[in-house]
Symmetry: C2
C-alpha cells in the first residue's frame, strides 16, 4: 500500500533495482574492504537469503545476500554440454546431483547498507514471534488505548480519499461517503504481470479503525467492496474473483479500514491464518452475529520487541 515517509520509498527503490548498471570504479574503496563478520542476523533456507552484520573499515554494515532466481531463457545453458555433476544420491529413476554453474549464470545479489545504525541492524535481526489472544475486553483496555497513544498519522490515506495524491492510480471508486471506497494498486505490485496482482480497497467512511470496529451496520459497505472490487479487477485485469484472495489484516498496519485483493497464487506476506481474515468470512460472521468482532477473542502474532506486546505483559495478559 501507499506508505508515508521517505525511508520506505528509498528502500522500495533499492529492492526493485535501478534502471542502469555499471561497474564498480577501480579507484574507489572496495565496498566490502576487509569485511569482518560479526553475526548472522537472519537466514532463510527456503528463500536462499542471509542477513549479516559485519564491519568494513571500522564501520558497521548490514549485508544481505540473495541467490538469483532461475531464468527460463538462460536455464538451458546451465544444462548444456554435459556439465560436471557430483552425485549425491541415486535410487531407481531418481538422481540427486550437485552442479556448479559458470559464475555469470549463478550470481548473488548483495545489498550493502553502510554505515548501518543500530536501528538497521535490529530491523534485520530475526525476531521471535508470540501469539496474543486478544479478548474484546483486552481490545478496549489494552489495544485501543495503545493505538490512541501512538497517534499514527493516516493523512496519506485521507490524501488518497480526497484525490490530493495518487488520483491517477485509482482503478475504481464508489464515491458514497458511507458505503463507498477507492480501489488502487498496492505499491508492492509493479503492475507488470497479474501473477502477483495486489490491490487495496480503502473505505470512504472514516473512523473504522479495524475489524474490531465492524458491526452489522457495515455489511452494505463490506458487500460493496467485495462485489465491486471483484468486478473492477475482472474488467481491468481479466482476473476472476475466484482467483483472488480477498482479506483484511488484524492487526492492520494502519488504522483505517482497508481490504487486500491479491492473486490467489501469490504468496504475499500476511496471508497466514493468524493475520488474515477473508472478507467473505467477515461478512458471514457479521450476518450471524452483528457484534461478532466486538466480543470475539482474536489471535494474532506480535514480535517480542513490539510495544503492544509489552502492554499486554504489563496487564498480565501476554
Amino acid at each position: 500500500m501507499a506508505q508515508p515517509g521517505d525511508k520506505r520509498k528509498r528502500e522500495d527503490e533499492v529492492e526493485n533495482g535501478g534502471a542502469g548498471e555499471s561497474v564498480t570504479s577501480a579507484g574507489a574503496e572496495h565496498p566490502l574492504s576487509g569485511f569482518k563478520l560479526r553475526s548472522v542476523l537472519r537466514e532463510s533456507a527456503r528463500d536462499k537469503t542471509i542477513f549479516l552484520h559485519g564491519q568494513v573499515s571500522d564501520e558497521d554494515a548490514v549485508v544481505i545476500l540473495e541467490r538469483a532466481p532461475f531464468q527460463a531463457d538462460t536455464v538451458s545453458r546451465l544444462l548444456a554440454d554435459d556439465p560436471t555433476l557430483r552425485l549425491q544420491l541415486k535410487n531407481d529413476i531418481y538422481g540427486v546431483y550437485h552442479l556448479s554453474p559458470p559464475p555469470q549464470l549463478n550470481e548473488v545479489k548483495a545489498t550493502i547498507i553502510r554505515p548501518a545504525t543500530e536501528k538497521h541492524i535490529k530491523k534485520y535481526l530475526r525476531q521471535e514471534l508470540q501469539l496474543i489472544s486478544e479478548t474484546g475486553d483486552d481490545y478496549r483496555s489494552i489495544t485501543l488505548p495503545f493505538i490512541q497513544s501512538q497517534s499514527f498519522s493516516i493523512q496519506w490515506v485521507y490524501n488518497i480519499l480526497e484525490k490530493k495524491a495518487e488520483a491517477d492510480r485509482i482503478v475504481h471508486e464508489n464515491p458514497d461517503p458511507a458505503l463507498g471506497f477507492i480501489l488502487l494498486p498496492d505499491f508492492k505490485w509493479n503492475q507488470k504481470q497479474v501473477d502477483d496482482l495486489y490491490l487495496i480497497a480503502i473505505c470512504h467512511p472514516r473512523g473504522i479503525k479495524s475489524l474490531r470496529d465492524l458491526n452489522g451496520d457495515h455489511l452494505p459497505l463490506l458487500k460493496n467492496i467485495l462485489q465491486e472490487g471483484q468486478a473492477a479487477i475482472l474488467e481491468r485485469y481479466g482476473v476472476h474473483g475466484h482467483q483472488l484472495r480477498i482479506y483484511l489484516h488484524y492487526q492492520p498496519s494502519y488504522y483505517h479500514l482497508h481490504v487486500h485483493f491479491v492473486a490467489l497464487g501469490h504468496e504475499a506476506p500476511g496471508i497466514t491464518v493468524e493475520r488474515a481474515h477473508l472478507l467473505s468470512d467477515v461478512i458471514q460472521n457479521l450476518e450471524l452475529d452483528a457484534q461478532y468482532y466486538r466480543t470475539r477473542t482474536l489471535t494474532y502474532a506480535l514480535r517480542v520487541d513490539e510495544p503492544l506486546l509489552q502492554r499486554f505483559r504489563d496487564a498480565g495478559r501476554g
Copy 2:
C-alpha cells in the same frame, strides 16, 4: 503426517539427500547427455527453484534445479578478499551489487527423474488454483458424495490409534475413546530442531471426517486436544503454546479429524487463510453456534485439475 505408500517415502529420501556422496563415474553415460529443454513446468523466484521438462537420449526427463541455501559457517568466504562486485544501484547508504562467488560456494542442487512418465511431468506442472465457496448444501450434495466415492484408505490412521504402527513415536495420548487423541511428530519434521516443530494430534473417535462434522458435542474433545497438546509440547520440547500455530485444514488431506501443531515461525505449507482454521477459532465458533460448521460457507482453493472441482462445475457451482 504419516503417509501410506512407498512412492512418498522414496521421494522423501530423495528430498532429504543421502548419507554419502560420490562422483559420477567417468565411464557411465552423462545423466544429462544432450539435454533438450521442452518446457518450464514451474518456477519460483522466491524459492530459487525451477522445474523443467526435457529430453535426454530420447527419454523424457524432469529436472528440478534449486540454488543452495547460504551456510553461516562458509558465508564469510564469499565476502573475503575484496570479491568482484558489479554495481547495480547506489543511493545514500544503500548499495546493490552483483557478486559472482566461486563455484564451490555456489552450487545448484539438480534432481533428475528419468525416465519420467506423463504422471511425473503433470505432478510438477504449475497448476492454476481456484477458490470454491462451499455452502453447507454444497457439502452435502457435492463434496460428501465425492469423498464417499473415493474410498480413501485411512487404515494407516487406525494403525496408529491401535498402536499397530508408530507406537514408539507417540508424544502424548489421552486414551478416552470419545474425548481422547494421540499426539505424534509429523513426518515432515526431522525432530532435530524446534524451529520447524510439527506435530499432529489424531482424535480417537472415528467418523469425524473434517471440520464439517463438528458440532457443539465435540467441544470437550477439541478443548482436550488444545490444552493437553500444548502442555505435552511444552513438557517435551520446551515450546510454549503462544509459540504454536494450532489449526485444522479444510479440505484436509485425509478424512479423519486431526489437528496441526506447528512452530509459529515455521512457514509450513497450508497455513494460509483459505486452508487453515485456528483451533481456538473453531472452539469459539462452536460455542457461538453449535451448527456453525454445518451451515457455514467455507472457502478453499482447489487445483483446476482436481476431480472435486469438476464435481462443482458439473453442479453449476464451480
